[in-house]
């Protein structure tokens, strides 16, 4: 090793670059080879349709109402589902901070739905909410309705399946962000005479807001990629024809890879726009440590 390479190495090490960074190489290779490259490949494919110019696949997607409307359909399912999951998680998690008897059991019970998977949830919803299911029997028995309510094979079936799989996830995240907030901050406010509403809205909520933004994004990703449940409990040809169904059909039913890639890229773009907006709003908020003391 010559003196000059040593000097270069030294200079790099001062900026934080040395051989230890080689540990990053395998993971980077994986992500580049299996995520970045296919993505770029997909963009390239989407720009080479069988006929028409480079943007023909996109033009077709946006001019064909049957395809274009899938964007709105997906957002109409994913945004409310993600919002409700996060909003419902906040008060429940707020009640579940600290310790009480049965907390671990309750947390475990809330985690269980994560394991159900979309297929079992779909099957269960079809049985439970279907025209002869327990739910409709209950409503009929109580005299609340005259005939069974239709809750499956339409928007609501998909929506419920997203709540069942998404809520526990949102809850766990919110709970862990909440327990990361130093309780002494609230106690300090309490000694100054703040009621629970003041403590919650002036202290806890602002500290929690960045975590809520992250939770919303992750729940939204889950809800946005709704595919099996949109087919199984939804109405895949109509009211729940989400964009992933459009992409899937283009690829595996029509074998039109340009159109499929275009739909996938549009889907990714729409999703990234929503996430960027949410995270952009988040960066306006306090982003420091919430743990108090030496953070």
């Amino acid at each position: 090793m010559t003196a000059s390479t040593l000097a270069v190495r030294h200079r790099l090490a001062e900026r934080g670059v040395d051989r230890q960074l080689l540990l990053l190489v395998p993971a980077t290779v994986f992500v580049v080879a299996l995520f970045v490259y296919p993505f770029c490949y997909g963009i390239a494919v989407s720009l080479q349709p069988a006929q028409g110019g480079a943007l023909a696949a996109y033009r077709t997607f946006f001019t064909d109402a049957y395809q274009r409307d899938t964007i709105g359909t997906t957002l109409a399912i994913a945004l409310p589902a993600a919002l409700i999951n996060v909003l419902a998680a906040v008060p429940i998690a707020y009640r579940m901070r600290g310790r009480f008897r049965g907390k671990r059991l309750l947390t475990t019970a809330l985690v269980v739905p994560i394991t159900l998977g979309t297929v079992l949830t779909a099957e269960g919803l079809l049985n439970f909410l279907g025209p002869t299911g327990w739910f409709n029997r209950l409503l009929l028995g109580a005299g609340l309705v005259d005939q069974p309510v239709t809750l499956t094979h339409n928007y609501w079936g998909v929506f419920f399946s997203l709540v069942i799989t998404g809520f526990p996830f949102a809850f766990l995240l919110v709970l862990s962000y909440l327990s990361g907030i130093d309780p002494s901050l609230e106690r300090a406010a309490a000694t100054l005479g703040a009621g629970w509403a003041q403590r919650f809205f002036r202290i806890t909520l602002p500290l929690l807001a960045p975590g809520l933004a992250t939770t919303f994004c992750l729940t939204f990703v889950l809800a946005f990629s709704v595919f099996p449940s949109a087919i199984l409990v939804g109405d895949p040809a109509g009211s729940t024809r989400v964009i992933s169904i459009a992409a899937y059909e283009a690829a595996y039913v029509h074998y039109d890879y340009a159109a499929a890639s275009a739909a996938a890229i549009v889907m990714g773009a729409v999703e990234l726009v929503v996430i960027t907006v949410v995270l952009g709003l988040r960066s306006l908020l306090y982003t420091g440590s919430t743990a108090g003391g030496k953070g």
Binding site: G42, R99, L120, N127
Partner: protein
């Protein structure tokens, strides 16, 4: 300090919501379980007769043994590879600041922030191009895309809480990175690695889209086989599909209970002490 679970109206609303959620959940799971044991079940509260034959039928009709073997092999491979690849990367990201470290972090965050279908379709196209899709290798590769970043993101806080002074002391005594990893970090990280790999297994068992897009007839995991049997409704008895769903659910539940022994689910994001008093 124990909190009291009594009284205020707000509390009643909150616990009411939780109760409704659990009731719906019990209804959803219960109706699948009941149906899987019912001989037939039409317009009544409960099926008139019970049987276990749907399970036997599901086992043979859906060739569950090979499907379960594939699921197991895929999960173990995915978990193993993503830990081997992810943990060193998590170590660097947790400990070091270097030019582009934020960019690297973003690169690893992106696959998690993207719906699987979005990158799954181009990925499947690429894998088919190289003749990897339709086999086990394609399924494993596709499932690694979200798993490697997932391991990195869950392991980073685990590593951050290990005192760097321990490592510095070892280095002072002449240990090289390899030794630091083998004799100091690895033992301290075992709980974290176990937690991360079990969570990867849970995610992989449940990962529908990527497996669906890349699997061939011999490389379906349980969840994909379940989807096919369900969307081909009418060919098979509904009850045996339900029996298969129950088998799937029990399997996931066992995995989850094992996972919860190693990791407190609420501390995945922000690692804090359980009781800061």
């Amino acid at each position: 300090m124990r909190r009291r679970i009594v009284a205020s109206p707000g509390a009643w609303v909150v616990w009411g919501l939780v109760a409704i959620f659990f009731a719906a959940l019990a209804g959803v799971i219960g109706s699948v379980v009941v149906n899987s044991f019912g001989v037939r079940w039409f317009d009544t509260w409960l099926p008139p007769d019970y049987t276990t034959r749907w399970y036997g039928q599901a086992w043979t009709d859906f060739t569950l043994l090979p499907v379960l073997t594939v699921t197991l092999v895929v999960c173990l491979l995915v978990a193993g590879i993503s830990v081997l690849v992810g943990v060193p990367a998590a170590y660097v990201l947790a400990r070091r600041r270097f030019p582009g470290s934020r960019l690297m972090y973003l690169l690893f965050l992106l696959p998690i922030l993207m719906p699987p279908i979005t990158y799954g379709i181009p990925l499947a196209t690429v894998l088919y191009k190289y003749g990897l899709a339709g086999h086990l290798s394609g399924v494993v590769l596709a499932n690694l895309v979200p798993s490697v970043p997932f391991v990195i993101l869950t392991m980073t806080p685990f590593i951050e809480q290990i005192d760097p002074a321990v490592e510095r002391a070892a280095r002072m005594c002449g240990a090289r990175t390899r030794h630091v990893f083998a004799s100091i970090l690895a033992p301290l990280l075992v709980p974290g690695i176990l937690a991360a790999s079990i969570l990867v297994v849970v995610r992989t068992v449940g990962m529908f889209e990527l497996t669906f897009l890349t699997a061939g007839p011999d490389s379906q995991t349980l969840v994909v086989a379940l989807f096919y049997s369900m969307s081909a409704a009418g060919i098979r008895a509904q009850q045996s599909v339900d029996a298969m769903a129950v088998i799937y659910c029990v399997m996931m539940l066992v995995l989850l209970v094992v996972a919860l022994r190693f990791v407190n689910p609420t501390q995945l994001v922000a690692r804090v002490k359980e009781d800061p008093e």
